[in-house]
Amino acid sequence: MPGMVSLTLAGFLTLGIMSFVYKDNPIYKFCESIFIGVSAGYYFVLIFYQSLLPQLTDKIGLTGALTDSALAYYRQSGSLASVQWFNLIAAVLGMMMLMRLLPKIGWISRWPLAFVIGSIAGLKLIGELQTNIMTQIQKSILPLWAPQYVDGSLSLAASIGQSLTNIVLVGGILTGVIYFFFSKEHKGVFGGAARVGIWFLMVTFGAAFGLTVMSRMSLLIARIDFLLRDWLHLLG
């Protein structure tokens, strides 16, 4: 599908999706259906080659042959290593998951689901404590007076600047956490701290909003550039 035909197809799909700016219309719905179908197909192939096949066989990567499975290994070697036994367990649990499609024995799918939920919950129990909570708290314990030395002597301006930065950082974290603490009514000093927390959160939302606008605009510029330069050759 090289050259002009493929570019015209991409151009038509781009314009079809953009037509939604005017209003919801059949061309947009047509392109949307293509998108969903192709996406589902793409992820189906991706899951098969990147997750199912390598994880079940342990020996093959993206370009491996379909026949090189755990069972083929068994036929060749006459034995199943412990790793291969686990692969078979994974395959059986995967098959049990598909039982959800059969209403009468759909309850079987709870077993692999229990396996996944339990494993992830156990991992998160310690992992979340280590990575998100402890690390973030550790990084937030900062000196509120941070002397800065320039050429061996104390720089008052740099020290005040760094100390203010630390105070804002620690204050922002504390007030932000206070805002998310709903077990106590937001009144008095506690309410005031929660209010300051909202201000910090608004700064974050504003920054996120600004960055999102910029990234979407960049994408839009890229699509217009594709239409005018690559497809229609109107730009040099």
Binding site: V21, I36, F205
Partner: protein, 220 residues
């Protein structure tokens, strides 16, 4: 038994996964490694289940001749086209228009990816620029202190991050944008991360202890 056994499996897996962090022995490490792999396989099958569910939904739509069922034909056709293209043997050649088999450059699979999926996906996201513009108009009508704060931060970050900002206003604007990103933004983000972390921790604990059972669903 239909609920008790899954509960036992979940508690056993959860307790093992939590404890293995504290056991410096190769056996728990090996089991952990393989359990992780099994979780990935089951997760991948769950995604396949989602795709099957999507297709059955659209087949049902066609059967019932629901409004817009014609689009379901297109969706299903393109799904099978894309899926089939991923499993074509390398020696298959569909001609210069469609491409070859396998999943290499110039293949039918990658042609569909490059000239159908990528442009539509990018345009879908680009389309949000228009809706964000209208949302910005509504959000940026500074009616309160916090709305003004949001407006000011967004403007400073946007102007500070494009070349024209420092060119017209000077370097201070990009320095200010960098400071906002590194200090107040980081502070609030850290507060959110700690809050989310505590939430995940408590939910995981409830799961592992078998207190939280909503995932078992209703019925038998």
């Amino acid at each position: 038994m239909r609920k008790e056994i899954p509960l036992v499996i979940m508690v056993a897996c959860g307790v093992f996964m939590a404890i293995q962090f504290f056991v410096p022995h190769e056996l728990p490490a090996l089991i952990y490694q393989n359990l992780n792999k099994t979780v990935q396989v089951v997760g991948a099958v769950a995604l396949v289940l989602g795709i099957v569910s999507l297709l059955s939904l659209h087949f049902a739509k066609i059967n019932r001749r629901q409004p817009g069922y014609g689009y379901s034909y297109i969706l299903i056709a393109f799904f099978f086209m894309m899926a089939a293209s991923g499993f074509l043997p390398a020696k298959v050649n569909l001609g210069s228009f469609l491409g070859t088999g396998d999943r290499v450059e110039g293949s039918f699979y990658l042609n569909l990816y490059n000239y159908v999926l990528t442009p539509v996906q990018a345009t879908m996201f680009a389309l949000l620029a228009f809706f964000i513009a209208s949302a910005a108009f509504r959000a940026f009508r500074a009616r309160s202190v916090i709305a003004t704060l949001l407006l000011l931060t967004a403007i400073i970050v946007m102007i500070g991050r494009v070349p024209i900002g420092p060119f017209v206003l000077g370097d201070w604007i990009s320095d200010l944008a960098d400071w906002i990103m590194a200090v107040p933004n980081a502070a609030a983000k850290r507060a959110v991360i700690v809050g989310v972390g505590l939430g995940i921790l408590s939910l995981s604990l409830k799961m592992v202890l078998g207190i939280e059972r909503a995932w078992l669903g209703g019925g038998r």
